[in-house]
Amino acid sequence: MKDLITLNVFRYQPEKSKEPTYQEYEIPYHKDWVILDALNYIKDQIDGSLTYRWSCRMGVCGSCGMMVNGKPVLTCATFLESYTPGPIRIEPLENFPVIRDLVIDMSDFLEKLKKVKPWIIRKDVGSEDREYLQTPSQLADYKQYSMCINCMLCYAACPVYGLEPEFIGPAALALAQRYNMDSRDEGKNQRMKALSHDTGIWQCTFVGDCSAVCPKNVDPAGAIQRYKVEGASNWWKTLLLPYASKD
């Protein structure tokens, strides 16, 4: 006899009901299956109406993030084996509105991402053709923060984002740091203005879960704390030296 395992899947089908339900699926258990394999099995063999996002299946695209037993994970990188004997609860990423079943509406995240200007800002862009050189040590300064795949697990893990929807949130702040610490970038002051706002870094209370759930070890919590130290020292500098040059 084949081993079976039960998945308890969050279903939200707005045309059927305004309230979500949980649906049970019993599927064959394979030691080498990840959660996403199980969902694909359900969609192919049991219930074609189950809706969820996925693409690369190898932890790069960042689209298959879901809550598994209440914890945000990439379902392509999480094995069924870790949850035996089950049942396993699958829900859409927390803190986001649900569009359908396991699909969330990420437009708020995309808005916030834009606010931190996650691109290299330079005054001399287009003025001449040249290379912007960088040493390995300068690269090392921000490399960790550049690994973010925008999977939004950190937003699902962050209670502050859930409670204060205005909060810019972990990934966007880590990406701001990624560009601030890039030796080729000159846009730090622009970003600082957007981020030293009350809804920026100051709302973070260092729960630290964003860094714990990050599949790429970006450490957004660390990025935000470093930001706070810098923001606070700037605050005292402008207080004590109000006429010091700022650009």
Partner: protein
């Protein structure tokens, strides 16, 4: 742009967090646990009053007390607002928390100087 006061409160929170982490455990252990439980003899009045006669030690003590209170004020403000979802009362909670810390600071100045 409106100048945010959060960096100011956060600085006091951070300074108070560090000072309280370094100084309070041993002071609590000596004065409020070991002496009352008779595990050690309490330092003589001469010893403790001599310490308070040194201006720089008194300054450190005032700093530890005051900044510890600001550390509490900032953390407790957010604990209330997040733990109990009272964010819409932020203004009044902030006034009460930081106000308590300011009053304690003034009291320490009155008592010690």
């Amino acid at each position: 742009m409106k100048r945010s006061f959060e960096p100011f409160w956060w600085s006091l929170f951070g300074a108070g967090g560090a000072l309280s982490a370094l100084f309070l455990p041993i002071l609590l252990l000596i004065f409020f646990i070991a002496i009352p439980l008779d595990l050690i003899r309490s330092p003589s009045f001469e010893t403790v009053s001599e310490i308070l006669e040194m201006w720089w030690l008194k300054l450190i003590l005032t700093g530890v007390i005051s900044l510890s209170m600001f550390h509490w004020a900032h953390r407790f403000r957010f604990t209330l607002e997040e733990g109990l979802q009272l964010h819409r009362w932020d203004r009044i909670i902030a006034v009460i928390c930081y106000g308590t810390a300011i009053i304690t600071t003034l009291l320490s100045l009155i008592f010690l100087y």
